[in-house]
C-alpha cells in the first residue's frame, strides 16, 4: 500500500509536469497562430489595396451587381465616361443607364444569360450619360455563382462610341453607294469565295431575268453562260482572290433564252481582318453598244476596202500617164540643149508648158485625193508672186491667141520681197482658174487682178481675182460649181470637156492656205473668181535668180560611178544623156536581175532603180542588194517611181533605199540628188579671197577679229549640233544652224553657209530622220573649213 502510494505520488508529480509542459506548448502554438494570422491579414490588405488601385485606374467601367441586378460596387471611371458619381449609381438597377429603345433587348439578353447560366457574355448597347449624351458601351458580364445559385454579377464595360460611329458611317456609306449604283442601271452581284451568289440586286435580276431566289447559292456562270465564258469567269474569280480588279465583257443567256452582252467590273471584297470574303461584280448591259460596234466595224471594213481600191486605181493611173509624159518632158529637156531656131524654141516652150500642164492634171487628181485624205504636204519657199502668175498667164496666152482673147495681169501691188508660199499650190490655183476662164470664154478677156489689202513689214494680205467675159453661170449653177466632178451642167461637160476637178481643187487649196474661193457670175456676161490670202514676207528680194544660186551650191558629180536600172528605153536614154552631161561614169541595166548581177561585181557610188521592172522589180532588187554581202551592200540607192503616192515612197525607204525621185524629173533634180550622195571633193574648198577683199575693204584687223570669233565659236557649236541631232532635239538644231549660218560667209566660206542652210531647213520641216546622215556628210567639210581659217589666221599672225 505504501509502495503504491509512493508510485501514485510519483505519477501525479509526472502528470503535473506533463500538464505544465503541455500548457507551455499550447501557449507557444497560440502565439505562433496569432503571428501567422497577423501576417496573413497584412498580405490580404496589401492585395486588396492593389486590386482597388487597378480597378480605379482602369479605362473601363468595372462594377459588381447583386443577385437582383442592382449595383453594389462601381469604379470611378464611370464618372469620367458617363458623368455619374459612384454614389449616384450604387443601388440602381443595371438598366438605369440603358436608353429606352435598347432596354427591352438588353434585359432579355441578360435574363437569357442567367437562365442558361452562361458564365460570361458580351453585349453592345446604347446608354445615356448624365448630360443626356447617347453613348455606346461594349460590356463583358460574368455571373458569380454560389454552388448552383447566381448570387451576383461582375461587369466590365468599355466606351465604344467612336468605333461604333465609324462602323455605322462605313455601313451608311456602303449603303449609299450601293443605292447610287443600283439607280445607275448597273446590276450588282455578290459572290462568296467559291463563286456562289450571296446577293443579287434587283437591277441585276432584271438584266438576266432570274429572281434573286433563283440565283442565291448558285454559280452564276453555270446558269448564265456557256463553257468558254465560264472558264473566263473562273479565271477572273481566281484573280479576285489575289486582290485584283478587272473589267471584262461576257455574253450571257437570259432566262428567256435571249443573248445579252454584259460589261463586268469585278472587285474582291475583304473583311476587317483583310480576309478574302468574295467578290462584287457591277454589270452593265452593253448589248446595244455591241450591236452598234459590229455594224460600225463592218461599215469601216467596207469603207477601207473602197478607199484602198481608189488609191490603187489612182496609183495605177498615175503610173500609166506619168511614164509616157516623163519621156515627153525628158526629150524636151534634151532638145533644149541642142541648137534650135528661135521659132523652134518657142514651140519647144509650148511643148514644155503643155506637158507640164498635163502633168499637173494628173497631179490634180492625185492631189484631190490627197487633199481629201488630208495627207498633202505643205512646202513653203520664197516665191516671186508676180513672176509666178505671169508664167501661168503665158501658158494660157498660147491657146488664147487663137480665140483672140486678151489675157492679162493687173498687178496693183508694190512687193519688193518674195512671199513665203507653196509654189505648187499657187501654180495649181492659178492654172485651174485660168484654164477654167479660158475654156469658157470665146471673146473678150481673161484677167488676173491682184490688189493689196494690207502690207506690213513682215507680212502682206492680197486679194486675187480671176475674171473673164465668158458664158457665165446661173446662181443655181454657181452653188455646185466647186463640188468635185461637177460642172455647170451636163451640156457643159459634153461641149467643153475636162475633169470637173479644177475648181474643186482650187477651192480646197485656197482653203488650205487660209482663204475662201468665191464666185460671182452672170449668164452671158462672164464670171469672177476671187479669194484673199495672207503671206509672210521672205528675206529674198524679188528678182534674185533662184536657179543660178541653186546651181552654184550643187557639187559636181563628175566621175562618180552610177548604176542605172530602167526597163523603159526612152527613160533609159534620158537618164543616159543626163549622166553624160554630168560627166558621170554610168552603167546601164535593163532590169532588176541584171542590175543585181552587176552590183555584185563592182562598187558603185550610187544605184538608181526604177520601181516597176520585169523579172525583178525595184523593191526586190534593193532588198537583194541590201541583204547580200557585196561591194554595194551599203551603197546609196535612189528609187525612181512614177507614182507620187506617199505609200509607195514609204515602201521604197522601207526596202532600204536612201531616197526617191518621182518621174518626171528635171535634170537639176537628178543632179542635186546624186550630189547629195556623192562625197564632195573637199580639196576644192577654198576661201573666197575676192569676197573678203570686197567685204572688208582691206580692214585686216576687222577681218582677223571676225576669224577669231569664228574659231572661238564654231567648233563648240558644231559639237552642240551633233549632240542635239543625237538627242533628236530638232528645234535646237534649227535655231543653232540658223545662228551660225552667216558666220561662214564672214570668213569667205559661202559654200559652207549653204550646207548649214540645208541643215537648217531639214530641221525646220522636222525631217529628224534625215539629219544624222546629212550632218555626217557636212561635218568633215566644216572641219576642213575650220582648218582653213586657222591656217589663214596663222599665216597672218606669223608672216613668214
Amino acid at each position: 500500500m505504501k509502495e503504491e502510494l509512493a508510485a501514485l505520488r510519483k505519477i501525479l508529480e509526472r502528470e503535473r509536469k506533463a500538464r505544465k509542459e503541455a500548457e507551455k506548448i499550447l501557449e507557444q502554438k497560440s502565439l505562433e497562430l496569432y503571428q501567422a494570422n497577423d501576417q496573413l491579414k497584412k498580405l490580404y490588405n496589401d492585395l486588396e489595396n492593389r486590386y482597388k488601385k487597378i480597378v480605379e485606374q482602369a479605362n473601363d467601367i468595372i462594377y459588381r451587381g447583386d443577385e437582383t441586378g442592382r449595383c453594389i460596387f462601381v469604379n470611378s471611371v464611370i464618372e469620367k465616361i458617363l458623368g455619374y458619381k459612384k454614389e449616384e449609381l450604387l443601388g440602381k438597377h443595371f438598366t438605369f443607364l440603358v436608353i429606352e429603345e435598347d432596354k427591352e433587348e438588353v434585359v432579355s439578353f441578360y435574363l437569357d444569360q442567367r437562365k442558361k447560366k452562361l458564365e460570361s457574355s458580351y453585349k453592345e448597347f446604347r446608354v445615356k450619360s448624365k448630360h443626356g449624351k447617347v453613348m455606346w458601351l461594349g460590356q463583358n458580364v460574368s455571373l458569380i455563382f454560389n454552388g448552383d445559385k447566381v448570387i451576383g454579377t461582375s461587369g466590365v464595360a468599355r466606351d465604344i462610341t467612336k468605333q461604333k460611329e465609324a462602323e455605322l458611317a462605313l455601313k451608311g456609306n456602303e449603303e449609299k453607294y450601293r443605292r447610287v449604283i443600283e439607280n445607275m442601271q448597273l446590276g450588282l452581284l455578290e459572290v462568296n469565295p467559291d463563286g456562289l451568289v450571296t446577293k443579287a440586286y434587283s437591277k441585276f435580276c432584271d438584266m438576266v431575268g432570274y429572281t434573286e431566289q433563283e440565283l442565291i447559292g448558285k454559280d452564276p456562270s453555270l446558269i448564265l453562260t456557256d463553257q468558254e465564258t465560264k472558264a473566263l469567269i473562273e479565271a477572273k474569280n481566281e484573280r479576285r482572290k489575289k486582290g485584283k480588279t478587272d473589267v471584262y465583257e461576257v455574253r450571257c443567256r437570259r432566262k428567256d433564252g435571249s443573248l445579252i452582252w454584259l460589261l463586268i467590273s469585278g472587285a474582291p471584297r475583304f473583311d476587317n481582318s483583310a480576309k478574302f470574303i468574295g467578290s462584287i461584280g457591277i454589270h452593265m448591259d452593253i448589248t446595244s453598244q455591241k450591236q452598234l460596234m459590229s455594224q460600225l466595224e463592218s461599215a469601216k471594213a467596207r469603207a477601207e476596202e473602197s478607199s484602198l481600191a481608189k488609191e490603187q486605181f489612182l496609183a495605177h493611173m498615175s503610173h500609166e500617164i506619168r511614164t509616157p509624159l516623163n519621156a515627153v518632158i525628158g526629150m524636151t529637156h534634151l532638145l533644149e540643149e541642142t541648137q534650135i531656131s528661135e521659132e523652134q524654141e518657142d514651140y519647144l516652150n509650148t511643148i514644155k508648158n503643155s506637158s507640164a500642164l498635163l502633168l499637173n492634171m494628173v497631179s490634180d487628181i492625185l492631189d484631190l485625193s490627197k487633199i481629201e485624205s488630208g495627207e498633202l504636204d505643205f512646202h513653203l519657199v520664197p516665191v516671186d508672186l508676180q513672176k509666178l502668175i505671169q508664167k501661168q498667164i503665158n501658158i494660157y496666152r498660147q491657146s488664147a491667141k487663137k480665140k483672140k482673147l486678151k489675157v492679162e495681169l493687173e498687178w496693183n501691188v508694190s512687193l519688193e520681197q518674195k512671199i513665203n508660199a507653196d509654189q505648187k499650190f499657187l501654180n495649181q490655183i492659178f492654172s485651174n482658174l485660168l484654164g477654167n476662164a479660158e475654156k469658157f470664154t470665146e471673146k473678150g478677156f481673161v484677167k488676173v487682178c491682184v490688189n493689196e489689202l494690207n502690207h506690213y513689214p513682215t507680212s502682206v494680205k492680197l486679194k486675187f481675182t480671176v475674171a473673164d467675159s465668158g458664158i457665165g453661170m446661173t446662181a443655181e449653177q454657181s452653188k455646185t460649181i466647186f463640188d468635185s466632178f461637177q460642172q455647170a451642167n451636163y451640156e457643159t461637160a459634153v461641149e467643153y470637156g475636162g475633169s470637173g476637178l479644177g475648181l474643186s481643187i482650187a477651192k480646197h487649196l485656197v482653203n488650205l492656205m487660209g482663204g475662201d474661193l468665191k464666185v460671182e457670175s452672170e449668164i452671158g456676161k462672164g464670171s469672177s473668181f476671187s479669194f484673199e490670202l495672207a503671206f509672210t514676207l521672205s528675206d529674198e528680194k524679188v528678182g534674185e535668180a533662184e536657179h543660178s544660186k541653186a546651181n552654184d551650191t550643187i557639187n559636181s558629180v563628175e566621175g562618180i560611178k552610177v548604176l542605172v536600172a530602167e526597163d523603159n528605153l526612152v527613160n533609159q536614154k534620158f537618164i543616159k544623156k543626163l549622166l553624160e552631161k554630168f560627166k558621170a561614169d554610168y552603167t546601164l541595166a535593163d532590169d532588176g536581175k541584171a542590175c543585181y548581177e552587176l552590183s555584185k561585181k563592182q562598187k558603185f557610188d550610187v544605184i538608181i532603180l526604177d520601181m516597176h521592172m520585169p523579172k525583178l522589180d525595184g523593191y526586190k532588187t534593193a532588198e537583194l542588194i541590201r541583204n547580200s554581202k557585196g561591194p554595194n551592200q551599203n551603197s546609196p540607192i535612189i528609187a525612181l517611181t512614177a507614182s507620187a503616192l506617199t505609200t509607195d515612197r514609204k515602201k521604197a525607204l522601207a526596202c532600204g533605199m536612201n531616197d526617191y525621185l518621182t518621174k518626171p524629173f528635171s535634170p537639176l533634180q537628178l543632179k542635186k540628188l546624186l550630189a547629195s550622195f556623192f562625197k564632195p571633193n573637199t580639196s576644192r574648198l577654198i576661201i573666197d579671197e575676192a569676197y573678203l577683199q570686197d567685204f572688208y575693204q582691206g580692214d585686216k584687223a576687222f577681218e582677223k577679229e571676225m576669224a577669231e570669233i569664228f574659231l572661238k565659236n564654231i567648233p563648240k557649236d558644231l559639237k552642240k549640233i551633233k549632240t542635239y541631232i543625237e538627242e533628236e532635239n530638232v528645234q535646237a538644231v534649227y535655231e543653232l544652224a540658223h545662228k551660225i549660218k552667216p558666220t561662214f560667209k564672214m570668213v569667205g566660206l559661202g559654200q559652207i553657209e549653204d550646207k548649214i542652210g540645208k541643215l537648217e531647213s531639214l530641221a525646220n520641216v522636222y525631217a529628224s530622220n534625215k539629219l544624222p546622215d546629212y550632218f555626217s556628210k557636212i561635218e568633215p567639210l566644216i572641219n576642213i573649213a575650220i582648218k582653213l581659217v586657222e591656217d589663214r589666221l596663222g599665216k597672218k599672225a606669223h608672216p613668214s
Binding site: A7, L8, K17, A18, E21
Partner: protein, 179 residues
C-alpha cells in the same frame, strides 16, 4: 516520437498491469523527459523502446508481442479520438491503402513535426493486399498491431503474413489475404 504514443502506452500499462508496474518501467533518471509525457509533446523514440523492454521484463511478455498489442490498442484510440480520419472509408483495405496519402497527411496537419513511417502499397487484387513498411525505428510489430486493430475495427477477417525484407526489421512486407 509524438507524445500521444507515450501517454496512451502508459495509460494502457496502468489499466492492464497497475500503477506499480507503470512506475517501475519509467526510468526517470535515464529519460530526458523524466517520464512526464504530454500528448502534444515530442520525445525521443528510444525512451519508448526502453519502456517496452522494461515492461517485457516485468510481465514476462516478449517485446515484439507487447508492441503488437499496443498497436492493436492504439488503433482503437485513433478511432475514438479522430473519427474524421475514417469518414468515407468503407473497408479495412481502403483504409490501409489510404494511409500514405490520407491519414499521414491529416496527421501532419496536427503535428507538423511528426516523423512517420513510409508505406508502399501493392494492390494485388480485391482480396489481397501487399504493403511494405519502411522505417528506421524498426517498429514493424507496432505496425502489425495497428493493421490488426484496423481489421478488428472494420470487423473484417484476413490472414496477415510478415516478410522481413531486411533482417533488422527496417523494411518489412505485410501480405493480407481476405478470408
Amino acid at each position: 516520437m509524438k507524445g500521444i504514443v507515450f501517454t496512451e502506452f502508459l495509460e494502457m500499462v496502468e489499466d492492464r498491469f497497475g500503477l506499480l508496474v507503470t512506475d517501475k518501467i519509467i526510468e526517470e533518471d535515464r529519460f530526458d523527459s523524466k517520464g512526464a509525457y504530454t500528448a502534444v509533446g515530442t520525445y525521443d523514440h528510444q525512451e519508448m523502446v526502453i519502456l517496452v523492454e522494461n515492461l517485457s521484463k516485468e510481465v514476462d511478455i516478449p517485446v515484439g508481442q507487447l508492441f503488437q498489442l499496443y498497436g492493436q490498442h492504439f488503433f482503437h484510440i485513433l478511432v475514438e479520438s479522430y473519427p474524421r480520419f475514417f469518414e468515407g472509408i468503407p473497408t479495412a483495405f481502403d483504409f490501409l491503402k489510404s494511409i500514405e496519402n490520407h491519414i499521414h497527411v491529416e496527421v501532419l496537419k496536427l503535428y507538423p513535426d511528426a516523423e512517420l513511417p513510409h508505406f508502399e502499397i501493392q494492390d494485388v487484387n480485391l482480396d489481397q493486399l501487399e504493403m511494405t513498411y519502411y522505417s528506421n525505428r524498426k517498429l514493424y510489430k507496432f505496425a502489425q498491431g495497428l493493421i490488426e486493430g484496423c481489421l478488428t475495427h472494420y470487423n473484417e477477417k484476413a490472414s496477415l503474413d510478415l516478410d522481413l525484407l531486411k533482417a533488422d526489421g527496417s523494411v518489412v512486407k505485410f501480405t493480407l489475404v481476405k478470408q
